[in-house]
Amino acid sequence: MSESHHLETDVFVIGGGIAGIRAAIEASRQDTRVLLANKGYVGQDGAVVWMAGGGYLAALNPPDSVEQHIKDTIKAGRYLNNQNLVQAFLSLAPESVHDLDRWGVRWKKEGGKYPQIRMPGETHPRSMLHSKTGEHLGGEYRKALPRRIRREKNVTLLNDMFVIDLLRKGEAVVGAVGLDIKDGQFRIIGAKSTILATGGFMDCFEFTTANPTATGDGHGIASRAGARMIDMEFIQFFPAAALWPTNVYRDAYPYGLVYELYGILYNRLGERFMERYSPVEKDFATRQAQSRAIAREVREGRGSPHGGAYLSFRHLPRNLLDAYLRECWDVPFFRSLREAGVDIREDAIEIGPAAHYVQGGCWVNELCGTNLPGLYAAGEVGSGGKDGADRLAGNALPFCIAMGYVAGREAARRTKTITMPRIDETQAEAICNEALAPLERKEGIRPTELKKRIRRLMSRCMMFERKGEDLEKGIKELENMRKEMLPRVWSSAKTRKFNLEWMEALEVRNMFDIAEMAMRSALMRTESRGLHERADFPDEDHLWLKHIIISKKGNELELTTEPVVFSLLKPSELSKI
C-alpha cells in the first residue's frame, strides 16, 4: 500500500449538501471537532440541492399547523410513511425557516410574515417563496450554507474527498477510508461518530435532473458495511425536465411553467395526449401521472424528436405572454432560450420525465441513528421510510434540514460518551487495495461503459409500469454483469492525480449494489402504490402496508418486511383505502 494519511475527528460528515452542512454546523456548535468530506468543492459540485427550484414546506401561517402538514405528508405517502419520523422531523420545519433566514436565505417577507403559496397536495398554503419572483431557492441555499459552514471554527472541510468505504470495529462504525481526488492518495479517517449525507442515486438513470455525481455512494457504502436499507423501490420522477433546446438540457424549470402559464403538452402527432390519460385534470395531473403518460407516448412511438413531449404556450394571448416574460426577463432559463433563438410565444420546447429524488435509503430511528452504532444518516440517504410511497412536493428540504440538525446533535452527543476508537489497519489496507485494483489492471472494461449499461437497465425496468418478468430478467442481467464485468473494470488512465476514470470505477461498484437492491425490492412488492407501479399488479393492496427492509448477509441480500406502525393516524382516519 502506498503512503496514506491518517486523520482523526470527533464527528465525520460525508456529503456537503444541505443535510451534511446542517449536521456539521450543529455538531460544531456542541464543541466537537468536525470533518466534512465532499466529492467536489463544498458549495460547488457534489451536491444536488443547489439546483433546487422552489418548494420548502413549513407550517407557519394559521390555520395551517404542523398536524395538518403531517397529515398531508402521510396522505401523499399513501399511508406507508414512518409516522414517528414524520412527526419528529416536520415539527422542526417552522424553526428551520428562521434559522435559514438568519443565515442569509432571502425568503419573501411581508410585514414580518412569510407569505406562502399552495402546491399540489397541500391543504393550506405552505410553500416558502423567494423574495424575487421567478427565482430559484437553490441559489440561496448555495450561497447561505457554504458561507455559514466556513465560519464554523470547529469544522474542517475536506474538498474533493471521495469516501470509498466505512471502517468497522465489531458492529460499530469507527470512521472511513477516503480518496483525495486531487492527489490520488488515500486518507484514513478515524471518527467517534460518522454521519452519512450523500444524497440520492439519480445518476443510475439515463435522464435526470440531478448532478452526474449523484451516484448514491452513501447507499453503497452503508449497505456494504451492514446497514439496513428501506424502501429502495420508490424512486421519484420529474415530469418536465427540458430536453430541447440543447442549452437548457435537463433544466427542471419548465415544470413551473406548466402551472404558472398553463402550458399544454402535445405528442409528435400534435395530439393533446393528457386528455386521454387524465380526462379531468388534463395537463395538470399529478407529477406521476404526467411522467407516466409522457413515457408511454414515447414508448409507443409518439414522442418528440429528443424523446419526450412538446410543451407549448401558443394558446395564450401574445400580450399576456409578453407581460409574463417582461417580469422574468433575467431568469437564466429565459436568457438561454433567447440565446438559442427559441421564442416560447411561438415554439414549443421539448420536455421529458427525469429521475428526481429517491425515497429509499438507510433505516433510521427518530434520532437519525442507523442500526450500526456510530453511524447516522440524514437527508435523502437517511430514508427511514419517512416519505412513504410518494413524497409531498416540497418536503425534501425541510426533512434534510431537520435531519441534519438531529443527526449533528446526536452524533456530537455520542462523542462525549466514548473514547477515540482504534482503527484496524488491516481492514483499512484491504479497502485501499481493493480500490487500487482498477488502477492496476492492464486491460478490461471502462467504467463509463458499465455505467451506461446500468442506466439503460434501470431506465428500462425501474421507471413506469414495472413488470415482474422484466425485473426478473433485469436482475439476472445485472448478476451476470456483476460476475463477468465488475471484476474487470479498469481505469485506462494511470495517473493518480484527478483521475476521473478511477473515481468512476469506484462509483460503479456502488451503482451495482443500488441497482440490485432497487430491482429486488420492486420485484418483491406485488402491488402498485404511489411511485411504485406494477403493470401486473395495478391495485393498492392493504396487505402491503409494510416496508421492505434489505440487509446484507455475507454476499447475499436478505429481504424482509416490517409492518407500518400507525402511531398517529390510521389509514381509515384519512380516507377509505
Binding site: 458549495g43 439546483m51 430559484h136 441559489g139 435526470t208 442549452n247 476514470e501
Partner: protein, 190 residues
C-alpha cells in the same frame, strides 16, 4: 435541423505539472452539438481517458453550481453554459492552480495567508451590471448576491469580509460587462 453527424475541431489545453514542463494544446474532433462540457466528456470517453476536467451540475440546475470555469478563446466561461463551436480554444482558467489539464484546485483556503487579509473594496457599476449572476456563481467564497435596486436587478457584494482579495479576482474577470472593480486598500494585519 440536427447537427448530430457534423464533427468540428477544438483545441484543448493539456498539462500535468508533475510530468510536463510546458502546457501543450491538442486538437480533437468533437460533435457540433451541446456544450463545451459535453465536448470534454466526448474527448474523455472516446479519445483520452486521462482528460481531467471539472463538472458539477452539468447544466442541470441551469449553471448554478459554478464548478466548471474555463477560458474559451481567451474569454472566461462556464464550460456547461458555452455551446461548442468549431475552432474553439479551451484553456484552463488562469486564476486557480491547475491540478491536471482543465481541473482546477479551488481549495484556496489552504494557500491563503491567514495573517494578512487584504482590505478590499468592491465597486459595481449599476449602469453596466445587468444582473446576470455570473459573479454570484463564480465567487468561490460567495461574496455576491443579486438584489433589486430601483427597479433594476443588480449584483451587490454583501460579504466583503469573505473576499480573498488579491488571490482571486474571479468576479471582475468573469463579468462580461466589466462592471466589477476590486481595489486593495491596504494590507491589514489581524
Amino acid at each position: 435541423m440536427t447537427k448530430d453527424d457534423i464533427m468540428v475541431p477544438i483545441k484543448v489545453f493539456r498539462f500535468d505539472p508533475e510530468v510536463d514542463e510546458e502546457p501543450r494544446f491538442e486538437t480533437y474532433l468533437v460533435p457540433h452539438e451541446g456544450s463545451v462540457l459535453d465536448a470534454l466528456r466526448y474527448i474523455y470517453e472516446n479519445y483520452d481517458s486521462s482528460m481531467a476536467y471539472r463538472y458539477g451540475c452539468s447544466g442541470a440546475g441551469h449553471q448554478r453550481c459554478g464548478a466548471c470555469p474555463v477560458l474559451v478563446n481567451g474569454r472566461p466561461a462556464f464550460s456547461c453554459k458555452k455551446m461548442v463551436e468549431g475552432g474553439m480554444t479551451i484553456e484552463a482558467h488562469p486564476k486557480f492552480e491547475v491540478i491536471r489539464d482543465l481541473s482546477l484546485d479551488f481549495d484556496r483556503e489552504r494557500k491563503r495567508d491567514k495573517k494578512i487579509i487584504p482590505d478590499v473594496k468592491i465597486t459595481i457599476d449599476p449602469e453596466k451590471c445587468d444582473g446576470c449572476r455570473d459573479c454570484v456563481f463564480i465567487c468561490p467564497l460567495k461574496v455576491f448576491e443579486v438584489r433589486k435596486n430601483g427597479g433594476k436587478v443588480i449584483s451587490v457584494p454583501v460579504d466583503i469580509e469573505s473576499c480573498c482579495g488579491l488571490t482571486c479576482e474571479q468576479c471582475s474577470i468573469f463579468c462580461k460587462n466589466s462592471a466589477i472593480k476590486i481595489e486593495v486598500m491596504m494590507e491589514r494585519k489581524t
